[in-house]
């Protein structure tokens, strides 16, 4: 019996197609661009322990991609730290506070001869930096220092002259995730003031740069997934400390005649202050946010009326002195909050419009985190919340997500991709995410004092996503 090879081949191909099941988009190269939320920063640093549990790494695993990252070693913290300090829980008697538990070490994957697949970098990059920061200058700024370690585009470095977007495009990916623009608004949280053009990028300027970024990343045949900017109400950095005096023993507000006692601030244009001696500050209006950097000041009596044992001095509000001097504060008055939210809304409108115009998939992280902030996130009967330290979703800097938070982000990424492309990429395994401890991979640090962010400088705990 003779066989017809052509007919056999056609039959074989047909059989293979039939057996292949539903058609799936195949991704050959996955690259991520963005800020610290893309890099996987947690607890104020980027180390391998965090990078391996970031949303980008989780997504790459689910996509079965080789995903090269700049893996930073986690080291025993020195006193003073020689690397960026990593925060963690510190037991103080029966209370838990946040302190340095390790520090960021050298990049263990620095020899990679091509750009990393994860091009997220910290240092508080703004939207413009993803296309404009083509050559970093170490020593020039915190941003340059941190970006240089990941983009490797400093003078004389392998990718000099290439921005993050340029490096991503050089890898010719067919799937790109982009999460940037957060710091354009959220920097105001750490600055303690919402000032257009200083701590907030004007919406028009943001829109123009965002479109430039997205257009540069939009290539025929490529799938682009973008994230929008979360609301400040989901960030424990500014939702943990209430704007009223709290009894440290009971952790409940101090009540005078049944009413809580507001902390003191210097006032701003919308809430002018005329102090009533002996206090030198005025009560913070309801709706004021106090960031975690206020902790050491409160411990010193700042913001607390003298009648309650405080110094009567106001908690500082961020002040801009032209032409270029900015002194950060620790409080956001309601008008600051409104301004930040207006900017976030403006950014997100620009992100949605740009995504739509360029055929990108939008992950609405803003809506998700609003829901999570209000109700918690429940999976399998387990609820985690945005509460600081114990809620489970945010890390110990109160700004960046924890592995659980990044797991939720990875899940949203996969769900959005599957919904838009008809793919069947598996969702993350939350059993591993929820039940795996996230503890330093090194021994205890050298004795150091608990981290208290310097009021006059911006060191450890930051408001932006870096």
């Amino acid at each position: 019996m003779k066989t017809n090879p052509v007919r056999s081949m056609v039959f074989g191909i047909a059989l293979a197609v039939l057996c292949a099941g539903p058609a799936q988009a195949q991704f050959n190269k996955f690259v991520v661009v963005g800020d610290s939320l893309a890099a996987g920063e947690e607890s104020n640093c980027i180390v391998e322990r965090f990078q391996e549990r970031s949303w980008a790494r989780l997504a790459a695993g689910l996509l079965q991609q080789d995903f090269q990252q700049p893996l930073f070693a986690e080291q025993v913290a020195t006193n003073p730290p020689t690397g960026y300090p990593c925060l963690g829980p510190i037991l103080s008697g029966a209370s838990i506070s946040v302190g340095i538990v390790s520090q960021q070490g050298p990049n263990q994957n620095i020899q990679l001869g091509r750009p990393y697949d994860n091009l997220g970098f910290n240092g508080s990059p703004h939207i413009k930096d993803f296309v404009d920061l083509k050559t970093t200058v170490p020593g020039r700024s915190d941003l340059d220092n941190k970006a240089a370690a990941i983009l490797r585009n400093c003078t004389g470095c392998p990718f000099e002259g290439l921005s993050a977007v340029d490096e991503a495009n050089s890898l010719a990916p067919d799937l790109v995730g982009f999460w940037g623009g957060n710091n354009d608004a959220l920097d105001a949280l750490g600055a303690g003031a919402a000032i257009e053009g200083v701590t907030l990028t004007p919406v028009d300027a943001f829109t123009a740069k965002y479109e430039e970024v997205i257009e540069a990343l939009s290539v025929s045949g490529r799938t682009l997934v973008v994230f929008n900017v979360p609301d400040i109400g989901a960030v424990p950095f500014v939702t943990t400390i209430p704007p009223v005096v709290v009894d440290p023993a009971t952790r409940q507000p101090v009540l005078i005649n049944g009413n809580p006692v507001p902390l003191l601030g210097p006032g701003d244009a919308a809430f002018p202050c005329e102090p009533v001696p002996p206090d030198q500050g005025c009560p913070l209006p309801p709706g004021t946010l106090v960031n975690l950097q206020a902790q050491p000041l409160l411990a010193s009596g700042f913001g607390i009326p003298m009648a309650l044992g405080g110094s009567g001095l106001p908690l500082p509000h961020g002040v801009f002195t032209p032409p270029a001097t900015f002194t950060p504060g620790v409080i956001l008055y309601p008008d600051d909050v409104t301004s930040i939210r207006d900017h976030v809304d403006g950014y997100n409108a620009a992100i949605a419009a740009s995504a739509s115009a360029n055929g990108a998939i939008l992950v609405d992280i803003h809506t998700l985190f609003d829901q999570v902030a209000a109700q918690g996130y429940t999976i399998g009967g387990i609820t985690v919340t945005t509460s600081f330290i114990t809620g489970g979703i945010f890390s110990y800097d109160g700004v960046h997500p924890s592995p659980i938070g990044y797991g939720i982000v990875a899940d949203e990424f996969v769900k959005a991709l599957n919904a838009a492309k008809g793919t069947n990429i598996p969702r993350p395994n939350f059993s591993q995410i929820l039940f795996t401890p996230n503890v330093p991979s090194v021994g205890p640090p050298a004795p150091v004092t608990t981290v208290h962010a310097d009021h006059g400088t911006r060191t450890v705990a930051r408001g932006g996503t870096e």
Binding site: S92, A94, P248, A299, G376, G381, T385, F430, Q432
Partner: protein, 443 residues
């Protein structure tokens, strides 16, 4: 006076979770008809695939179609019961939670539910009947409850009910009987699961079992009222057409919630959880709407001693649309949860062969649609469409009779892979059986 940002174990987050832990518990697993309904309320009916609304010619008519009492001329009493059990009930997990490779199984429990019926002819047209039975209930207790992946949703869920159903029938014409009655339902719920109290280990960031919570209520103190009516039309003696309706019954439960700490071994965490956890018993209240049902059937006596019964039953499960949990003392916030159940239909056929000796053999089949949408399926209740096969036998004389029937229930496997209210994904498979026996005396 200073402040500290270490808002460890904030009460607000914990209270939110305390409410979550209660939601959805007020359902139990099925073993017979859809949802948590139990229709095996007579041995003859069980043997005939529960197609009995158009037959209803023994005292179990009080339940299946009280208008059937109108054609019964003797004082009769029937006692018996059903044993309900699972052959298997297994779960295989899927991503994202609890993940591929995880599994669970339900304990092979047996449940015994009693039945008592009395039919009392008062006049040649008027009959009185009384039924005591359990038309709703069952339970679902998972094996290895402290390690099972769904322990944060449910380790054990139980509903018990006991109905007292007085009813009158009246024979309007020789061919037509109608009936109406009242239905008093006693019910209890018992619900258990573990909780992470809405917090994670502050030192490692991972989830731990921090508490066990048990909700319980008394059978005798939680009641609801309903009513039922029936119609039986026999144009000729060999054909019966029956319609029976039972109203929705809402039971408002008042019970207790008890929170028991699960120690982690870390004295700091354990100490803080101990401060957080509500101590003692706390009141909890909820409400369950047991659905209305409309059963329609026909019984046809065929030559050679055969009886064919056909039936279509509708159950208004859409009334079971939500669960509202209320903690009167504020130990946890109130919570509402949509269940999104749909009305369901069951289609039944039964056959009986009577021999001149008094013996009878029976067989039946029914197909029952689940009212539970895929999104609501979870460790508390994983219902699905089912094929049910029945068989039975009996020996009856005019003065007494004994009947035995059984069901084998083959649930279709159910996969929850896309949407889940509990965010708990996987595949459920279950087989169950029911045996029913009854003894009748007539005077």
């Amino acid at each position: 006076m200073t402040q500290r940002p270490q808002v460890a174990f904030r009460c607000r987050a914990s209270r939110v979770f305390l409410a979550f832990l209660a939601v959805g518990w007020l359902i139990a697993a099925p073993a017979t008809p859809s949802g948590f309904q139990v229709m095996t309320q007579g041995a003859r009916a069980t043997g005939m695939g529960l197609a009995f609304t158009g037959v209803a010619d023994d005292p179990s008519a009080v339940f299946f179609n009280p208008a059937g009492m109108g054609f019964q001329e003797h004082f009769s009493i029937m006692i018996g019961g059903s044993v309900l059990g699972r052959k298997k009930a297994d779960f295989e997990g899927a991503d994202p939670f609890p993940g591929e490779g995880t599994s669970g199984s339900v304990q092979k429990q047996e449940f015994v539910i009693p039945l008592v019926y009395v039919v009392v002819p008062l006049t040649s047209e008027l009959n009185f009947g009384l039924g005591v039975n359990s038309p709703y209930g069952l339970g679902l207790r998972w094996n290895d409850p402290e390690n099972w992946a769904g322990r944060f949703i449910s380790q054990n869920a139980v509903i018990k009910s006991l109905d007292i159903n007085p009813v009158f029938s009246y024979k309007l014409f020789p061919e037509l009987s109608i009936a109406a009655g009242a239905d008093l339902r006693f019910s209890k719920v018992q619900l258990e699961r573990n909780s992470n109290l809405g917090i994670v280990d502050p030192f490692g960031g991972e989830v731990q079992d921090l508490a066990h919570v048990k909700l319980n209520s008394s059978l005798t103190s939680n009641t609801g009222w309903g009513w039922n009516v029936g119609l039986m039309f026999k144009p000729i003696p060999e054909i019966g057409v029956g319609v029976a309706y039972r109203s929705k019954i809402t039971v408002d439960y008042d019970g207790t919630a008890v929170f028991t700490q699960r120690f982690t071994g870390n004295p700091v965490i354990d100490g803080l959880v101990g401060q957080l956890l509500p101590q003692g018993e706390h009141p909890v209240a909820t409400s369950v709407a047991f659905p209305a049902s409309l059963n329609t059937g026909v019984g046809i006596e065929l030559p050679a001693g055969f009886l064919l019964a056909l039936e279509a039953d509708w159950t208004e499960w859409s009334s079971f649309s939500a669960l509202n949990i209320h903690f009167p003392d504020g130990v946890a916030p109130d919570l509402d949860r949509a269940t999104l159940w749909k009305d369901s239909w069951a289609y039944r056929v039964g056959l009986e062969k009577k021999f001149a000796s008094g013996w009878a053999l029976r067989a039946g089949y029914y197909y029952d649609n689940t009212p539970q949408p895929e999104k609501d399926v979870g460790p508390i209740l994983a219902d699905n469409d089912r094929n049910v096969y029945s068989a039975g036998f009996g020996y009856n004389t005019p003065e007494w009779g004994i009947d035995v029937g059984g069901l084998y229930i083959r649930f279709k496997d159910r996969s929850v892979l896309t949407e889940s209210t509990d965010n708990f994904f996987g595949r459920y498979s279950e087989d169950a059986w029911v045996g029913t026996a009854s003894f009748r005396l007539s005077f």
